[in-house]
Symmetry: C2
Subunit: 287 residues, 2 copies
């Protein structure tokens, strides 16, 4: 899996660099580039694999993979702001507002969102209908009924009178991290005009397994490997899958979800092997 | 002009309310709705008038007008943040981060940007090609080569060693306020697949005239009418069109630009009368 992720990393880096190089030089563009450095590129991999499963070329899928990673980078930059999660370390580097300034971090995030939408208009992706399907789904995954809604719930939970229960956390994370993962995993059929159901089902399970693994890493992880502060949720008294299920319970639930994700790919047969590997990878990773 | 603006105000309010009502209820959606209250709706008027000049119906143009106003609202919410211009009054009401919280204001801005793109995918607007032209132009107007770039320059100017000169301010404002105004004014031909040149020329002049009038109002304006703090630029020692040209010089320049804007509409004849009225309105307004 790591070899495939490294391949995707190089492809996405080139696509992002090309898009960023077209912008006016200066601190804003530098901060945007800084924010897109590193990361596991799991979302990009989802886009490229989902594309292959539906006969869509890497060339067509790459702007979409870059858009998803640009969007993900914006969400991290804004989530790390002092008014939000107030983090100083991300991907092993100072967070964007520490490296530059709070104003530049806000603006870099804003511009990365716009860049993501710009990437989805690219000719290489396919016909106008295909691109519009993508853009519509993307706007929904990002906005006030998707990722941003999830982040707002997460912030609200910090000052809530009682911690969230399992149902509320599942709903929250289904939006905060799940919505973009579902978009990425269904990009292939969205471009090709195919059926999104199986990949959407896979992505729902994968997204939750991924988040549970993140919660486990916040407890058991090594800051040098994860590249971000650990133990933060517990210190903040936040409910997580670990606080609600226990460490063993969380591990069992992640494994169950990963298996369900794999099973959702049955109709794709051998061709979906990389996506099955990914389901195992997300729960076994130490970064 | 005010009667036409009031008509547009009601249409845009209805379109925004419809789009906002589809979002999950809660503080995030409330803050987004709050941020879209009020405003002169000059950008929406530009969209609707430019549409009429190119045979595009109000029904087709309205989602675009709503998108432009949602985007404008997001930019005001983020510009007003403590890390940016740190404003507490906007459109006569507490700014979004004062009324809610800084985190909610950041997220409401983020979600308003996504909502703007979602609105541009609406079927009513026209065929897929038309909507893609709009979305591509919009992403360019908003992002790191457009509005956000202008705002970054504006923030950087506050801590620069010497104030900006006329050329630098003109370039900065051409991006910060000009890019979205140019998008709005060319929305009609972008939808219809027509020639954008005359309206783009009009919008360049109008945008600058508008900004000069804003700088004049910051010096001569009444806070009760403008609904925002006045005298801020001078207190911050910021270069403005007034500090560089003097009050009389700025008034003369605004009048000259408004006349050039009107002249750019010659080929449209009588049909462009509302846009000519608007050019006079933006330099004569006291709000």
């Amino acid at each position: 899996m790591q070899a495939r992720l490294d391949e995707v990393k190089a492809q996405v880096r080139a696509a992002l660099d090309e898009a960023l190089s077209a912008l006016p030089k200066g601190e804003l563009a530098d901060a945007m580039a800084y924010a897109t450095v590193g990361g596991k590129r799991i979302r990009a991999l989802l886009v490229l694999e989902s594309a292959r499963l539906h006969g869509v070329s890497d060339t067509a899928a790459l702007p979409v993979a870059a858009a998803v990673e640009a969007l993900h980078a914006y969400s991290l930059v804004h989530d790390d702001l002092p008014a939000m999660d107030d983090d100083d370390l991300r991907r092993g580097m100072p967070t964007c507002h520490i490296q530059w300034s709070e104003a530049t971090a806000i603006l870099a995030g804003d511009a990365l969102q716009a860049l993501a939408f710009a990437l989805l208009t690219r000719d290489e992706i396919g016909g106008p209908e295909a691109r519009l399907r993508l853009i519509g789904a993307f706007a929904g995954a990002v906005g006030a009924a998707g990722m941003v809604w999830g982040q707002a719930q997460d912030i609200a939970a910090e000052t809530a009178l009682r911690p969230l229960d399992l149902e509320a956390i599942t709903r929250l994370q289904g939006a905060k991290t799940g919505a973009l993962i579902r978009f990425a995993a269904t990009a292939g059929p969205l471009i090709a005009g195919g059926e999104t159901e199986a990949l959407d089902h896979y992505a729902r399970k994968l997204g939750l397994a991924f988040q549970i693994a993140d919660d486990i890493l916040d407890v058991t992880g090594d800051q040098d490997l994860t590249g971000k502060r650990v133990g933060k949720d517990d210190a903040a008294g936040k409910a997580t899958f670990v606080s609600l299920l226990g460490l063993d319970g969380a591990r069992a639930e992640a494994a169950r979800l990963a298996a369900e994700a794999e099973a959702a790919l049955a109709s794709y047969g051998e061709a979906a092997e990389n996506l099955r590997d990914l389901a195992r990878f997300v729960i076994e990773r130490d970064t």
